[in-house]
Each structure stands twice: as C-alpha cells, then as structure tokens.
C-alpha cells in the first residue's frame, strides 16, 4: 500500500442555499479544493451523498458532477453510507490512491436538503434506519436518539443540562467559523427552553437541515511536496458496521461501530487516542457526542456528560472536540459532513483555523457515523 496525503481542501458557506442546486454547490466547492492544491488534472472522483434521489430526484452523481466540473471522461463514483457517506468517500479515495489505481483523486461530499418539505426531509433521513422494523412503525431519528438519551440518563445519571452543554460548546466554536450555518453562541437556558422535539431532546439538541459540500484532494504521499500547501497524511482509516436497528443492540448507550472503527484507524496509524490533538465527531444530536467521546475512549463509559461539563472537550481542554462547530453549529448536509471533518482537521494542522485554532495541532481524528451507529468511519490525519 502507498501512503496517501491530502494536499488540498475546499468548503463553501453552508446553510439554506435556495438559489443554488446540488451541482452548483458541489462544483463551487470542488474548484476551491483544486485551487487550494494548485492542480487542474485529476485521475478520479469519489462523491459521498446520502440520498440525492429522495432529496432532489437525481441519482448518477458521478456522471453529473464530473460533467459539470468539466472532468469527463474521468472515472467518478458515488458512495453512500447514510450520514457517514462523506467519511466513506474519503476511505474509498484513500483505497484508490493506496492501491496505485489513481494518483490524484478528488473526494467530495454533498447534500441538497432544503428543496423538500420538513416531512419529506424527515422521511429521507429516516431511510438510514431499518425501514421494516423502525421506519414503518413511526420511528424518526430524533425519536431514536431520544431513546438513547433516556437510557444514558437513566444508566449513568447524565443530566439534561449536560446535553445542552454540548450544543453550547459547539456553538461557541462555530461562532468562530465563518462558513458555519449558525455562527453564533447560544446559552444552556436557550437549549432548555427551545421547542421539544422528542423528549428529552429539544430543537437546539438537534443538528439542522443543511445544503452544503466539502472536498479534498488526495495523492500519493511521495508526490505531496509538489503542491502549494503543507500536506497532511492519512495515517489511518477504519470503518465498521453494527446492527441497523437500535432494538438489536446489546447496549443502547454504546456505539460499538465507532469503537471498532477508531481502534482500526489508530492501529493502522500506530497511534493511541491520547496522541490526537483534536477531534471532529458526529454530533447529530447532543447525546451522540457524549456517547462518541466514550466510544473513542476519551473518557470511561458513562462519563461523557461530565466531560463536557468540566470543559474537557472545549477548545483549550485536554481533548478539543468539534472546534469547527460540529454538525450542530456548522450544519449537517449529511453526505458532506464526513469530508468537512477532514477539511477542518487539515486547516487545524496547517494552522489556518483562525480564532478556533488549536495551538500546536499536529494530529487529529475524524469520526463520521450513519444512522444510530449502524456504520462508523474514522480517520487519523497527521501533519507531514
């Protein structure tokens, strides 16, 4: 296997982009990444997208996006793993460069979610759950994560306030990210008094519906010196699955696919979790971030709520989690999220993260998740 590096990143402002279609959002972002690397030619494209069929009536994104980027006849693939589609795209691109099949690969993620009604969006997102055993019986994702939250509160004494503190921390960070959908601070009281979605989760516990894209340029590490910016090595890649239905899990409070994927990625990199200087993780709901910090091994089982309360996961804490603002403040265009996590880590390792910069960051970890943890993808990135 060849070593693989990220030599360019791109991300545009996320939000409700009613004036732009999926292809426009993607192409603008991909051009930024190409420009950041200073390349024109690519050998291949991999695009992560969860459900362009249900959100926009458009599949066949490989053909569409290579066409609109002016890259035909370059090979182009779309990959899907629900909300971890972006992380999966990064992994597939890594595999393609590592194998020697391609040298320069554009990995992108995109989702256009606001051209449908709220009900249609909830249905489309629900296709990440087990339709026959969850969806058809009325379960939506806020409801599934609400059950996980209740179980965690009951088993470990996690408090309603600790859930809110995850959202407050991520908005603090996001207020320093000009590309975030919601770049402003919120308070614990604001979370506690926001509209109830699925008890105990309120609207400010939930990541939003977002239009957006993110892109990175990969190449063999031995070529990385030729490009404009300092390169970042993909030192480890791990992916794992778990039961798609929450009801089949041994423990409602534990995300096993994240534990396995992280272990694999760290083993490939020859690192431990304590070697990492920052973490971009999948806080689709506040309870998710708490459970992820436990599954990654940042804190013992059941201590994720306490960790955020004590500032352990804040910028300046021992384990800075989601300096970008996370899914909560930055936004969550589902297929783009996993790629955007890598964009943030690369910016941090280059020292380009502005007011949210983690000082001396040399290594970072991304954790991207599908459904209630039915799939997880973890990458370890290191400055070269």
């Amino acid at each position: 296997m060849r070593d693989v590096a990220i030599v360019g990143v791109g991300m545009t402002k996320w939000g409700e982009l009613w004036e732009k279609s999926l292809r426009t959002i993607f192409v603008e972002t991909a051009l930024l990444a190409l420009d950041d690397a200073g390349v024109d030619h690519i050998d291949s494209m991999i695009v992560g997208c969860m459900s362009s069929g249900l959100f926009t009536g458009q599949e066949h994104l490989g053909s569409l996006l290579s066409d609109y980027l002016g890259k035909n006849p370059v090979p182009a693939a779309r990959v899907e793993s629900a909300c971890s589609s972006g992380g999966l795209a990064l992994r597939q691109g890594f595999s393609e460069v590592a194998s020697g099949m391609s040298d320069i690969v554009l990995v992108g993620g995109v989702e256009k979610m606001t051209d449908v009604t709220g009900c249609e969006a909830t249905y489309a997102l629900g296709t990440a759950a087990d339709q026959e055993y969850e969806g058809y019986h009325g379960l939506t994702f806020p409801a599934l994560y609400a059950m996980m939250a209740v179980a965690h509160m009951h088993k470990y004494g996690t408090t309603r306030e600790q859930l809110a503190m995850v959202a407050v921390k991520n908005h603090d960070n996001g207020s320093k990210n000009p590309l975030a959908q919601f770049p402003f601070k919120i308070s614990v009281n604001a979370v506690l008094n926001s509209v109830l979605v699925a008890d105990p989760l309120r609207i400010l516990d939930c990541s939003p519906i977002t239009d957006g894209a993110a892109a990175v340029i990969l190449c063999p590490a031995e070529m990385a010196g030729k490009f404009k910016k300092p390169a970042v090595r993909i030192a480890g890649s791990g992916q794992a699955t778990d039961t798609i239905a929450l009801s089949s899990r041994k423990d409602l409070c534990w995300i096993e696919s994240t534990r396995v994927a992280a272990q694999k990625a760290l083993a490939m990199a020859g690192r431990t979790i304590d070697d990492m200087h920052l973490f971009e993780v999948h806080d689709c709901f506040t309870i998710a971030e708490i459970m992820i910090t436990e599954a990654l091994g940042l804190v013992p089982k059941g201590r994720g709520g306490k960790a955020v309360e004590e500032g352990l996961t804040a910028i300046g804490g021992k384990y800075p989690v989601n300096p970008s603002g996370g899914l909560k403040a930055k936004g969550h265009p589902v297929g783009a999220t996993g790629v955007a996590q890598a964009v943030e880590v690369v910016k941090q390792l280059r020292g380009e993260a502005g007011a949210r910069q983690i000082k001396g960051a040399g290594r970072g970890l991304t954790q991207n998740m599908g459904g209630t943890g039915g799939s997880s993808v973890v990458h370890v990135l290191e400055a070269m």
Copy 2:
C-alpha cells in the same frame, strides 16, 4: 498493486419476487457466493445499488446487509452509478483488494424494483438522467434511447428488424439460463408487433423491471488456490464518464464512455478486444447493444445492426454477446446487473454454463453502463 481473483459467485432466480424483500434477496445470493467459494469469513463488503431510497425507502445498505448477513462489524459500503452500480461495486472491491486494505471482499449488487407502481419505477429510473435538463421536461429512458435509435437508423441505415434481432438473440440465449426472468424464445415478428413504448422502441426492445441480486467473492490472486473452485483473475478494470445529458453529446450514435473504459481495461490486462472469447454487455434497450458492440470495437461504427443480423454476436459467432440472455431476457435489477455479468463470465470460464456454454472460453469482458452512457465500467476476466 496486488493481482485480484474471483473465487466464488452467486445468483438466485430473478423476476417479480413479491414474497421477498431487498434484504432477503441479497442475503440468499451472498450466501450462495460464500458457499461457492467455501469461505465463511470476509474482511469487507461492497454493495452496488442504484436507488433503494426511491424503490424501497431504504438507504444505508452497508449497515443493513452486513447486519442481515450476520457480518457486523465488517466494513460495508454501498456504491451507486445508476445502472452501472454493480460494475462500480466490482471495481471498488478490486481496488480494496489490490491496495492491500482487505483480503477477502464480498461484492454484491441488488435492486428491489417491483414494490412500487410502474410510474414510480419510471421516475426512479429517470434519476439516472439529468433531472434539471431531461427529467423535468418529461424525458424517460425509453424516450432517450428511442432518440438514439432514430439517429442510428437515420445515419447508418440500421433497420427496425435488426433492433428486433438483438432481443431475439438474447432470448435464445436466455432460454438456456434457468435463472433468467424470461427464459424463453421470442420471434422477430413478436418484437415488431409488441406494444409501442417510444417510437421506434417496442416493449420487447426494452429490458424489464426486475427484483434480483448477484454476488462474487474477491481475494488476492496469490490466495486463490485455497478455495473450492477454479479462480478467475480480474486482469483489467476501466471506468469512464460522459455528459449525463444526451443533448450535450457530440454524437447521439456513439457511447464514448464505453470506448474509454474498454480501452483502459484492455490496456491494464495487456489484451486486445480480439483476445476475448465472450462479452456480457448492457443491452438495456436493443439499440444499446448495437451501439456497445461498435464502441467496444467489435465492428466498425454503424455496423452493429448488420453484426447481429449476420450472427456475429450469437453463441457460436465470432464475438458471442450476452450468452446469459443479457438484460433483455435475464432481467435488469439495475444495481445487480454489473455483478451478474461477472457471475456469467466466471461460470463460462469455469465451463459451468450448461446449454449456453461458449466452448473453450478462457477470457471474457463485461460492460456495464449508467444512464444513456453517462458512465461505463468494463472488466476483463481471465481463467487462471
């Protein structure tokens, strides 16, 4: 890059499988492939599927299918390139084994298409076209291929009867394939008198709506001797894109993505098209097979109609095309088709193809296509 071999194949009877859901169809097929190889353990899964979101309300197939196959926490990915999703899955699996990331990879393709109405199926399939410039204006796939057929007839004198002869040949072949959806012969007259769909294409020019799956097991070629059956090497893999909209093409009668993908796959294999002993190609409509035989270089531009008339592409002809029955007779569960093409070539190279066996077949080519040729994936397979 490591050499990659196919050491197991599986396919179940295709058709309107109302009593089975997507997960059941996939798992039954995957188990056949695992049994054929004589393996239990896999390192990874790649699944090709075009639009499970629109056909069944279910995305996140990696998690779902590894779960129901009893393989959690194995990494599992879903890939999509419209009707070439299966070919893309094979290519991604090839990349994953070639890179050294995984040793034993299950590559599957699946589509469950008959749980929706005809209109809904037409809409779902239409998402392979350019929705903004084709779909929203009323264009469906029969209409797009009808325009290609008219252009080919006008430019090269291809006849209505020659189109019919493609369907007749593929039903002749399919009548010898017990797993085919329509394992019976038809006549030229039957095609000419069948219901008109989009002039000049009639219902018997069109591949059907099908439920089905196909699966293969990949491993490094150096491990291939350990398995039950004779192994087949993936000697070449090529993929290419073209404009998604037909209106942007330079030539309505030419499938450039297939030409490029085939050239790449043959170059990787160090072979020419004349070294191949059989061809499984994407005859979604009769005109498609005619244009593909030209793009592959089996016959000069414009001579594809004449070729089928003269028996060149029949079993026993110089270039046997679609001995399995092709999409027309075998069926076309869109995400499964590309994998099923590889299943057929492996069976032929092993001498397991029964009444449709190509004598002495040692090398075969698969060509899988998305949309009107917006993407193509070609593989060269050789007996080891």
